[in-house]
Symmetry: C2
Subunit: 457 residues, 2 copies
Amino acid sequence: MNMNKDKTSSSLSKQPYKGTRDLFPPLKRTQDYMFSKMREVAHLFGYEPYDGPLLEEVELYKAKSGEELINEQIYSFTDRGARFVAIRPEMTPTLARMVAQAHKEMSKPIRWYAIPNLMRYEKPQKGRLREHWQFNVDIFGAPQLMGELEILELAIVLLQSFGASDNDFEILLNDRQVVDDIFKKLLNLDSEIVHRLYKIVDKSQKVPKETLDHMIAELNIGSRETELFLDYLQIKSFEELFLFLDKNNLQTTKNNLEKFSKLLKDINIFKFIKYDPTIVRGLDYYTGIVFEIYDKHPDNRRALCGGGSYANLLQIFNEAPLPGVGFGLGDVTFKEFLSLHKLLPDFSKPEVDFLISYQTSDGEKQALQLANSFRSLGLKVVCNLQVIKIAKCFPLAERLGAKFVVLIGEDEIKNNFLVIKNLQTQEQHKLELNLALDSSNENIKNLKTKIKEICKK
Amino acid sequence: MNMNKDKTSSSLSKQPYKGTRDLFPPLKRTQDYMFSKMREVAHLFGYEPYDGPLLEEVELYKAKSGEELINEQIYSFTDRGARFVAIRPEMTPTLARMVAQAHKEMSKPIRWYAIPNLMRYEKPQKGRLREHWQFNVDIFGAPQLMGELEILELAIVLLQSFGASDNDFEILLNDRQVVDDIFKKLLNLDSEIVHRLYKIVDKSQKVPKETLDHMIAELNIGSRETELFLDYLQIKSFEELFLFLDKNNLQTTKNNLEKFSKLLKDINIFKFIKYDPTIVRGLDYYTGIVFEIYDKHPDNRRALCGGGSYANLLQIFNEAPLPGVGFGLGDVTFKEFLSLHKLLPDFSKPEVDFLISYQTSDGEKQALQLANSFRSLGLKVVCNLQVIKIAKCFPLAERLGAKFVVLIGEDEIKNNFLVIKNLQTQEQHKLELNLALDSSNENIKNLKTKIKEICKK
């Protein structure tokens, strides 16, 4: 009655909001498959699920990332209670808030994961949408390097759980401690210049050589410093890095990284890791190991996943430091990775065990009851809710992805049976129709035995 | 380096945004359990998953629900591209938009479900929060009454899948056609009065008798009309309703409902249904059967779930009518229902199979490798990432919900074995330590056999 007929307008768009997706069943099944493997792998490592609010106060994001970084990219607004809030663009600030609330009562390490939906205001492009889901995995309070090790291992096992092979991806890794050592101890630069150098490192792979040189020249850091910095950017492996650190007397950091690379070798994941001096994860809150997982496919040279260790995430709540390590993996880029490497099953059709159909209206009651009984056995059953000709059943079953079709026609009712057709083998089976008529325990037991026989054949 | 120390402030709140929840692991596990059963039951009936954007243009909500209904309750704002958008307060408009896009190419009926997070601007109170998740199930294009039947059945099977018994809930049901017939055919009222009467019906259970009388009196609809209306509100069962419809010559509607009640009896769910003349589902878009599932627990007399059939949802997109039936079930009220009836397992602890520990740093490598091997068998393994005394292992295992503890001490390493302790039976098993040292297929096979033996004991 209140359909607001006057509002009916041909201008009402059927398209989703810019940069977001309508997840029709084939896509949603794909996403559910991805999510279920994420959960599975998190649980294999003993990580516990959490989630938080869709909205947080903007102050929280500012405290974590700084004013200039968040203003451009967040969906913020003032609510009716004059709170300045934002739709979560990332999960880490919420995570930090929750850990700050609870960590004192929790035994360490804390192992948590989440798969939240996030929104960022950005120009939609390949692999980057305004709305996406992100698998977030974090460990807090693990012994130094051990948390880093476990987090990397978990990320690798995740990719492997989808069938990714050693050649499909690589992990580019760096240590912010190396960068800090070089900038602060070796080059003795003040924090403003360090800040700008970090920006340059972060961009160094994305800009031409001349631009890079120009950016460095602008800093006026002296020729020895410039040379050292450029030497650093040329480092291509752990061996080269260790030589560089040796040569420059950065022994503590070298020892630490050597120990880490030994651990990586111990558990046989060193083969995935490549040292890359340009990985710093932006101006973010990381303080130690940082990494990005890269697709090795030539058509998709991009990071699937980024993460690292951070010492001071709880500091914004005036809590004592609790070191953490974590990563985030977005569903859009990850799905592209899986598609490109042909690691996704076909989700175009649903998965249904039985299509139950009746060819006479007298079969309706039996069909409905049979559907009930089958479902109580855990079978996925679509009941065709009206009389349908036999010939039309099969294309329908095909569209539904059904494995068996049940037929209940006039003959069947007269002679008290029903026909089950296996669509793969084309075999037919008969079953007493009265099995459908009550769902007593005894009856269900008999039905189960018979269905098991039929399904196995 | 960029932790914005100047922003560090003791005023940064650790609490979640008003009316939202921090889902710490025990609560998130509970929610995941609820969601997985929802998916399971949807799949038993052949419903396919979908999802849509977090934001929609406000126009969409206005077109569906009308200006006055949405302005108060939505989180709306203008984006940087001058689009007036809202965080989804409900899923139905998005569903309608997506079905309007795709229905022409899809075989009917279309069976879809989703579990979106939604936000409504409202005063937080028991069972009502600003953010919640809602299980949405809809069928489009089913033969009349058959979609209604299936949707009711699915809702009942869902509750039963959690262990709810016949006495835990009831379904209050009405038919908007009955109400329309009475108001339009019998009382011959114009649409403005009908509109106001719908509001009165909707409120009739929530206000005292005097207020109700006063509201009716204000309509000035005459004494015969008032009496008929009050008679209608007194109807307590299908029998009384059928008598009322007979007496007033509303035969078509009566026949329809009689047919429906016979179908409900056929599949043995009539016992859950109670006719209730006051159920109309507000001023919403429903056109036929409407229902609410009520908790029968005296401490929680409230609706868990509401739904019904609607003929014209696609009309706002200028699409031809495609009848639908659906319901929505919110996670907050549903969890209260499940808690109150003691239908929730204990999710206070995680579920872990093995805690792998080492009592000497020489055991680190073996522990890490063993953890890997165990995980490749699908076992959930927490590896303690530092040397830990045996005595401390057991309380830790207890907190982790671990079933077994692995111990690797000096003796074990010297003699090439490890100890597995079953925490329930206190039994101990020894296993060759070198099984942990490589993860060749042969080795994993042997390990699997041994672990199976141990876990079964």
